[in-house]
Symmetry: C2
Subunit: 194 residues, 2 copies
């Protein structure tokens, strides 16, 4: 069954990007340190397996327009080899890239989710960007959260869990994998009846 | 050698207490869920060992006046069986409790630290409260951070790592212990030369 998955690398102080995210600093100031576990050479075995799995299980991606704009040239492709849905206020034509398409969705997260699920097969729908993550959390639409806890303090930046407006949501840990660069903890979101 | 240790139970969204901390809610609304790993029955073996160690290694405590005021009746004693130093703006006489004393320090964190180190022997100086933690972090006075990562989203409350005004501080993980209720990660703070 398709799961909606939030999978982010987060500093100990809660940031998934540094300050001043933009073309100059795609991950914000010092934000690239959040992905040492991916870009380190040689790569730790645990980290390599987590990364492999992340790509293998992604059947569709939902991202915000800001993440799209900052990332599109950098990736030179879709961020994952899968159809990508960009939540935006201004419609535009579908963009075809080497490993997938960017489809621009103007009628909200539920519509994006429906379109993403329709193409994800038995793989996961992956969310990108703090704003999208927060919208989906508030709407109770996330099944699984994987946080790659990175042992740094960024001091400033883009917070993942901010202004959620949710109350006391219990999670269930179902896996902990550890490397020197990250502790990968996977949480199942325990759904309350609606 | 005496280490200065920050050891806190933190929700996935970064809170070490819920909202509205006070006499009615000593840990804030839903904040008691942060300590399930301590108060659960039967206690998980990993959690029990972490708790035992926490008490065994505490040689002195530094806390803020607000934590003192909220906690003193609740504890009916000092929070740990060790001399406790309360940072406050208004001096008062030392308070003698069953397992230790509360000494009130009005001349700042460095003085409190000096007094705490003088009595800690070869044990640790433990910090309590987000405000104290942040002051010590900013001053670069913390040697070790243990975060008991608790799998809940509180949505609101007292943030541990907030407004730090520090930049990109690298940590080194030196231990990860896991139970269903908490992932206990110990980080060494890598000191930069002053």
């Amino acid at each position: 069954m398709t799961k909606v998955v939030l999978d982010m690398s987060m500093s100990l102080d809660g940031f998934i990007a540094g300050s001043n995210v933009g073309k100059e600093y795609p991950m914000g100031v010092n934000g690239e340190n959040l992905h040492t576990w991916i870009f380190n050479t040689p790569k730790d075995k645990v980290d390599a397996e987590v990364e492999r799995e992340m790509f293998a299980k992604t059947g569709a991606v939902i991202l915000g327009n800001r993440t799209f704009e900052v990332g599109v040239d950098l990736w030179g492709d879709v961020p994952f080899p899968a159809p990508s849905f960009v939540l935006t206020h201004k419609g535009r034509e579908t963009l075809i890239k080497k490993s997938g398409t960017f489809t621009f969705v103007t009628n909200g997260i539920e519509s994006a989710l429906q379109q993403a699920k329709a193409v994800a097969g038995d793989k996961d729908v992956r969310l990108m960007g703090a704003d999208i993550a927060q919208q989906f959390l508030r709407a109770g639409l996330i099944d699984e959260i994987q946080i790659n806890h990175v042992p740094i303090l960024l001091g400033d930046g883009v917070r993942l869990f901010d202004q959620l407006g949710i109350k006391n949501s219990q999670l269930e840990k179902d896996r902990v994998l550890d490397s020197p660069h990250a502790t990968h903890i996977r949480y199942r979101v325990i759904k309350k009846e609606k």
